[in-house]
């Protein structure tokens, strides 16, 4: 038990630096590649791809926090969730900014692209859904929203699913990589199902006395 505590406290100390290193790594790699001239011949496309992948990886990491906590009992890991989510949002914004440039910053063309092309619609919707989550990630908002905060933040499931669909639909033919993301996402969501069932049972249990009574009377 004491040993477990030591391990946990070491992990806890490493958690923040690890999250920040991981979160800044994609940006660092892009900057290094840009500085050394090793971005692909179409650098805008390359950066779009890299930032998009960073969003998905970080979203999946964010979604991994709760299952890790449940499976290991390490409650402190929850501290990683907010920074991971915010890093994901940061790359989503970079991805979007690059995309705006890609479209020549022309509002008409951007609107047309978002409306006309389903994979763009999916990606754009994911970004829109993530925005209130980033805004309400502060302590103040958590307090102000109370129970509604958790409900609101379930939008991350929708955003992650849309993000993976966005990747899948953007690919010309080789869907292997998007399918890997889809599989990981499916696992992370599936791991939540027991928790949801449990919570549902508890909720029902709170209601059952009434039901039991009416059932008894009918019998």
């Amino acid at each position: 038990m004491a040993e477990r505590k030591t391990i946990e406290s070491v992990l806890q100390k490493l958690l923040k630096p690890a999250v920040w290193t991981g979160g800044l790594l994609p940006l660092a790699l892009i900057i290094v590649a840009g500085a050394t001239g090793t971005l692909e011949a179409d650098p805008v496309k390359d950066i779009t791809y890299r930032t998009g992948k960073a969003v998905l990886v970080l979203l999946l990491c964010t979604l991994a926090v709760t299952p890790v906590r449940r499976l290991t009992g390490w409650n402190g890991v929850i501290a990683a969730r907010r920074p991971l989510g915010l890093f994901a949002y940061f790359y989503a914004c970079l991805h979007f900014l690059i995309y705006l440039g890609y479209q020549g910053f022309s509002p008409a063309e951007i609107v047309e692209d978002v409306v006309k092309h389903p994979y763009v619609t999916a990606g754009f919707t994911a970004l829109v859904l993530l925005t209130p989550l980033a805004v309400t990630s502060t302590k103040g908002w958590i307090r102000r929203l109370g129970k509604r905060w958790a409900k609101l933040h379930r939008l991350i499931y929708v955003a992650a699913i849309l993000g993976v669909i966005h990747f899948l639909w953007s690919v010309k033919k080789d869907v292997r990589e998007p399918l890997i993301y889809a599989a990981v996402l499916a696992i992370l969501l599936a791991l939540r199902v027991p928790g949801w069932i449990e919570a549902r049972k508890k909720k029902d249990a709170r209601r059952t006395p009434v039901a039991v009574r009416s059932d008894a009377r009918a019998a």
Binding site: A41, V44, Y102, D113, H117, K173
Partner: protein, 309 residues
């Protein structure tokens, strides 16, 4: 030296026609050519340069041309072919089979095929269906000369091209991303068009593996996927060939695949393109037939280009 004159056909038989065609192409783009001619550019380059001259069509660097490729036989990433193809593709010895509906079928060693023809320099714009483009100084032999030598029968309405099928040399063929081997095709009149080229080199050097060594098609007025790489077979057919991308996604990639800013890909606009090497957010207007409308639009007169995209 790769550049040779044909040695088995008297020059008297073949030169006048080519001179005639060169002249016609030159005149067809007189406006653009005038600018370039003034600075002493060769006619073959001028012939392939955009008429308006305003945007400039500087050839891309060797580095860009040979590092950014779609060649799924070596992986689906843009830098995969440059990384993988030189390791496994063996462009010599190389045999090209020419058969189907023709009077003189045959199997040719690559070197013999080249030796029979005159290698020309042709600087063409290259427009990928993914909305990026380059300008590439090819070396190659006119496709029409190779076809003429095979004497296709009147019933031959199409020309089918096939890429090498060998998962040892092309590891990407172990995964069924596309139907292998890669097949492309042209209508006979398209294939006989003087702009259609069988490329053997870039910048005077032999074609690198990732660009489709040793022999690839270049059809500059069509999207890049028509320009099939590492060709081992040229076949004359009566039926329209089943071409790789058309089979894979018929709603996205047509048989004709002429560059057309008016007909969007279902997932992105084709109105503009990013020229590799341009400033980051610069885009250029895509031109009908990739700027070669004056030369090729007549091939499609009366056709609904929205339907036959």
């Amino acid at each position: 030296m790769l550049i040779r004159r044909p040695d088995d056909i008297p020059s008297s038989e073949i030169t006048p026609e080519r001179d005639y065609l060169d002249r016609r192409r030159f005149l067809g783009l007189a406006a653009g050519a005038a600018t370039l001619a003034a600075v002493g550019a060769p006619a073959s380059l001028a012939a392939c340069t955009r008429a308006d001259g305003a945007q400039g069509d500087e050839p891309n660097s060797w580095e860009d041309i040979t590092s950014y490729n779609n060649f799924y036989e070596f992986g689906t990433g843009k830098s995969d072919p440059a990384e993988n193809a030189p390791k496994t593709l063996k462009p010599r010895p190389w045999t090209v089979q020419i058969d189907g509906l023709c009077a003189r079928p045959g199997r040719y060693a690559f070197d013999d095929l080249v030796r029979q023809n005159r290698v020309e320099h042709r600087t063409y714009r290259f427009r990928c269906v993914e909305a990026w483009s380059m300008v590439i100084p090819w070396d190659g032999i006119p496709l029409r000369d190779v076809i003429a030598r095979a004497r296709p029968q009147p019933s031959a309405r199409f020309v089918e091209f096939t890429t090498l099928m060998d998962p040892e040399q092309m590891p990407g063929q172990r995964r069924q991303v596309l139907e292998w081997p890669y097949v492309e095709g042209l209508r006979m009149d398209e294939a006989m068009h003087p702009l259609a080229l069988l490329a053997t080199g870039i910048y005077g050097k032999p074609l690198p593996a990732q660009n489709g060594a040793p022999l690839r098609l270049v059809v500059p007025w069509k999207y890049g996927f028509k320009s099939i790489k590492s060709i081992v077979r040229i076949r004359f057919t009566a039926q329209q060939p089943r071409t790789a991308w058309n089979v894979a996604a018929p709603n996205e990639y047509g048989f004709f695949a002429n560059v057309n800013p008016q007909v969007d890909h279902p997932r992105w606009s084709q109105a503009r393109e990013r020229r590799i090497g341009d400033g980051w957010f610069r885009r250029r207007d895509t031109l009908p037939f990739n700027g070669y409308a004056d030369q090729v639009a007549s091939l499609y007169r009366g056709m609904d280009l929205r339907r036959f995209f």
